[in-house]
Amino acid sequence: MRRPEPFEVFQPQSIAEARELFRKNGSGGYFLAGGTDLLIAIKEKGLAPRYVVDLKKIPSLSGICQISDGWVTIGSLTTMREIETSRVIRGRYPFLAQSAAEVGSIQIRNRATIGGNMANATPSADVAPALLVLDSRVKISRSEGEKIVLLEEFFVGPGKTVMESGDVLTEILIPPTPPDFRGEYIKFSPREMMDLAYVGVAVGIVVDGSRKICQDVRIALGAVSPTPMRAHKAEALLLNQEITPSLAERAGEEASNECKPISDVRSSAAYRKEMVRVNTKRALLNAAAGYVENLSWMARRDRRY
């Protein structure tokens, strides 16, 4: 395996210092979070930085906070393993903890960060669909100040986001969810561990328990378009309707029509579309199973943390 060509490593103590280092040193610089994408790019894809600015010594970038008005913030340098094992995340958004646990191995998840994963904008990122159904936003620090962007508008294309050179992603913000909000994430992949998704489907839903009526729903898909995406047309089918297996089936078909997968080494586009149809239905039925009896497609995949 190729070794990195010489480059400088800076370890700033604050975001302002990090941005200043980046500005002062000019082109050829990369911000370093967990390194599980950047080091691979250097070793496998010939990326040759002149310098990297390591963000790990900036204390304010790490950690998960519950804010009094129901928001939860996740610092961009929080590791996937911290999210997977966090009491707050497992208690409030178990499907987000599960999606983090789907990434790589424990060794990788001890390094990989949620901010690095979002900034890298891989279409198949497992955490992205889960964050999309939570209506998450990202906070970006730039010279003009801070900017908050909806995650749905943050991704622009494979590996591309709205961030400009020198911007630092500092926080993921999750708005309050209703107490009866239920979420589900299904990663459909060839291997159970250590693999990328053929497709990833997340569903977040609020159902009126007595009338079985869907009051709010979000569906997000991974690995089936240039960016992680919301399936708005499928959502519209479900809103204010009674959740039944046949309606879930129709929503799956709609999501399958909406997505724009490519054929690659993992799977053909046609297969991905079919798997979106099936897994959207399954995710919907699993998420709604808490409200509606006999709806669950199957026992939840029993995940251990």
Binding site: M1, R3, P4, E5, P6, F7, E8, V9, Q11, L32, G35, T36, L39, I40, K43, E44, V52, D54, K56, R81, G104, S105, I106, Q107, I108, N110, R111, E192, M193, M194, D302, R304
Partner: protein
Amino acid sequence: MHTKIQIRLNGKIQTLTVPPFRLLLDLLRDEIGLTGTKEGCGTGDCGACTVLLNGKPVNSCLVLSGELDGADILTIEGLKIGPHLHPVQQAFVQEGGAQCGYCTPGMLMMTKALLEENVNPTEEEIRFALSGNLCRCTGYAKIIQAVQIAAAELRKSGK
């Protein structure tokens, strides 16, 4: 292009002057001479290079020396307790949890990390924890038995 770092390596504080772009794996093997840590894939897929960084298992092939100032690193060479094998090492020897042995240092470090968090793991939990450690001899059955024996030993000794 060199940077000065202070690390605690297998319990000993060391001050080193290293190229910041040097991988932790290469720092250990080529500059310090601790060759127990192995390189497999070099891309974080196989776990052969697993070491504990600040108590947590990581792939040392994806860590830069320039990130390490103040770090606490434990490698396979530091696993022994005085002159005695660690119960995890003892169990792998006893159960034959190694064939060619190349993945073994990584397996042992990951097992130590698992048992520190959970001293009574189910087989599923063991498989989940070791999913980032590949054994291409495919000797997983004995490895998992060894982890179970080590866990029982650690429970008995209350460690």
